[in-house]
């Protein structure tokens, strides 16, 4: 079966999850990725939504992070003070998914403004819980489509920190989590170089050339010496995505 770039993104993101992990889920592709992982190699994944639903097993595709289907049949519902303090700040979230209008060379994410903060060209929604997820989750995975606009050399505003902020590393800044270990795009996977924290090309999707990826980022993208191979979605994965997880193509467009 042939697949779309979006289907591959969901599949690659799903494969980042290990069975039994505790995942902070967002709506959209991250939700699809988590449910795909649960349906395949990670049946014991624990999904936590920042709205306070733990161990959610939604019977429909949730259209909001606070959809009532996330509550019905979940293991626990707690207030948001517990979500941010007892779970996230406590270090109990193993993986967080993040996205954003801009992702820069060090994995910093901007979801606040395009342009100057006080006089923005485009006002974006803001942090929500993203800043603290980026700081506290033991590791994060960024999901974003490649383009020069979306991957500038430096973001206009750092909402959610990546590997380096004004020259200082996460460790120097005292951040508990490891930061964005992978950036899953529609053409390739980027990873942070251990020493510099800079995002480099780590794996190409089938049929994609490295130059296409370089054209989609605003800095001189370096590559790992050996690029990893990305397997296309299996028929099982595709059928799950298309027939079970998002039959109405709410998030699988494109």
């Amino acid at each position: 079966m042939t697949h779309t770039p979006t289907e591959l993104m969901a599949t690659v993101a799903a494969r980042e999850l290990r069975d039994g992990e505790v995942v902070f889920v967002g709506i959209g592709l991250p939700n699809l990725a988590c449910n795909l992982a649960r349906a395949t190699h990670a049946p014991n994944l624990v999904l936590i939504y920042e709205s306070g639903a733990i161990g959610a097993v939604p019977e429909r595709l949730p259209v909001s992070i606070g959809d009532p289907s996330l509550v019905t049949g979940s293991l626990m519902v707690c207030g948001m003070a517990d979500v941010f303090q007892s779970l996230l700040q406590n270090g109990r979230i193993e993986v967080g998914f993040l996205g954003g209008a801009q992702v820069d060379r060090y994995g910093n994410i901007n979801t606040t403004v395009v342009g100057a903060y006080d006089h923005p060209d485009v006002r974006l929604p803001g942090s929500g819980g993203a800043a603290e997820i980026a700081i506290h989750a033991r590791r994060t995975v960024i999901i974003s489509r490649l383009s020069r606009r979306a991957f500038p050399d430096a973001v206009d505003f750092v909402t959610s920190p990546g590997h380096r902020f004004r020259g200082r590393t996460r460790r120097e800044l005292g951040m508990p989590g490891a930061g964005p270990v992978k950036v899953v795009t529609d053409k390739a996977v980027l990873e942070a170089e251990a020493e510099t924290g800079e995002l480099v090309l780590a794996a190409l999707y089938p049929g994609v050339e490295a130059d296409e990826v370089r054209a989609g980022v605003g800095w001189r993208l370096r590559s790992r010496p050996h690029l990893a191979k990305v397997d296309p979605p299996t028929d099982v994965e595709l059928r799950l995505l298309r027939d079970v997880l998002d039959p109405q193509r709410l998030y699988l467009k494109g």
Partner: protein, 293 residues
């Protein structure tokens, strides 16, 4: 609702209408618009459609928030026009969700600040000087702080309460409890007013005690187009449909004329909206527990 808002919400007040996607009291927001309250400082983690409407209606001087979008459907365009310099100005005070949760937690505990490990490596403190820091007296670490938020009035929607305001909520809890305890005045709006014996039969379900509540308003469907677990579903079509309305100032004004200024109360809103019955919740009733001894 008319009396509660008239008595308890004043021009210039700092107002919180809380509810994280769940139990957002649109009924109270509409009544505030109808009563033409002005110069309000509106606080909420997720401003949502109701604050977009209140901003468009000219109620707000300032917005204190952490995520301003139309979840899953687009932008809050009245908000964006104000911030992007294409509409009446709006002062902003911006945090993350954790920051807003901390502000209300401090307010509920009547502490002047709340400590957290947060904001290192972000531009948020540069954008908001009220995000400060403190040194731990034991470890010497620096921790971020946010200042307490003690609203003049908080409005909380809930499934049920008794006449004294003892309020029970299930499903997502958001920061409803913290907001109520932090506030000088509290209005609870419920789907159902119940006899106190219903509350007393399951006291662990009570989230806000009556001693913290100034007014109880009964307003079925009061959270539409958001939802009330066990009562009605989220009206996703309304959220999706808000995008073009919000984008066009004339359409937004027409919406307010028809559904806010053009109705006397929530009952008329429900009638005019039509078809809400199809959102009525299915039955998934849990078993009770034994409180005996």
């Amino acid at each position: 609702m008319r009396d509660a808002v008239a008595a308890l919400v004043r021009d210039g007040d700092t107002v919180v209408i809380e509810g994280f996607t769940h139990l957002i009291c649109f009924a109270a927001g509409h009544e505030i618009i109808r009563q033409r309250r002005r110069e309000l400082t509106l606080c909420r983690l997720t401003p949502d459609l109701i604050y977009d409407q209140m901003i468009a209606a000219g109620c707000a001087r300032k917005l204190v928030f952490s995520w301003a979008g139309n979840p899953g459907a687009g932008s809050l365009h009245a908000f964006r026009r104000a911030v992007e310099g294409k509409g009446p100005p709006l002062e902003l005070e911006e945090y993350s969700h954790f920051g807003m949760v901390g502000r209300l937690s401090a307010g509920a505990a009547r502490l002047p600040f709340w400590p957290m490990r947060n904001y290192m490596g972000t531009d948020l403190p540069a954008a908001n000087p009220r995000i400060a820091s403190i040194e731990c007296p034991y470890t010497g670490e620096r921790l971020a702080t946010v200042p307490a938020l003690n609203p003049d009035v908080t409005i909380v929607h809930a499934q049920r309460a008794d006449a004294d305001g003892n309020t029970q909520i299930w499903g997502l809890l958001g920061v409803q409890k913290e907001a109520a305890f932090a506030s000088r005045r509290v209005i609870v709006v419920v789907e159902e007013l119940v006899d106190q014996s219903v509350i007393r039969a399951d006291p662990n379900r009570t989230l806000i005690p009556g001693i913290a509540v100034d007014a109880v308003v009964v307003e079925p469907w009061g959270a539409h187009p958001s939802y009330a677990q066990g009562y009605y579903d989220r009206d996703n079509a309304f959220y999706v449909g808000w995008e073009p309305v919000s984008r066009d100032p004339a359409a937004l004004a027409a919406y307010l004329d028809e559904y806010v200024y053009g109705v006397r109360d929530r009952r008329e809103y429900v009638e005019r909206s039509g078809g809400l019955e199809q959102l009525r919740a299915a039955a998934r009733v849990c078993a009770g527990v034994n409180y005996g001894y």
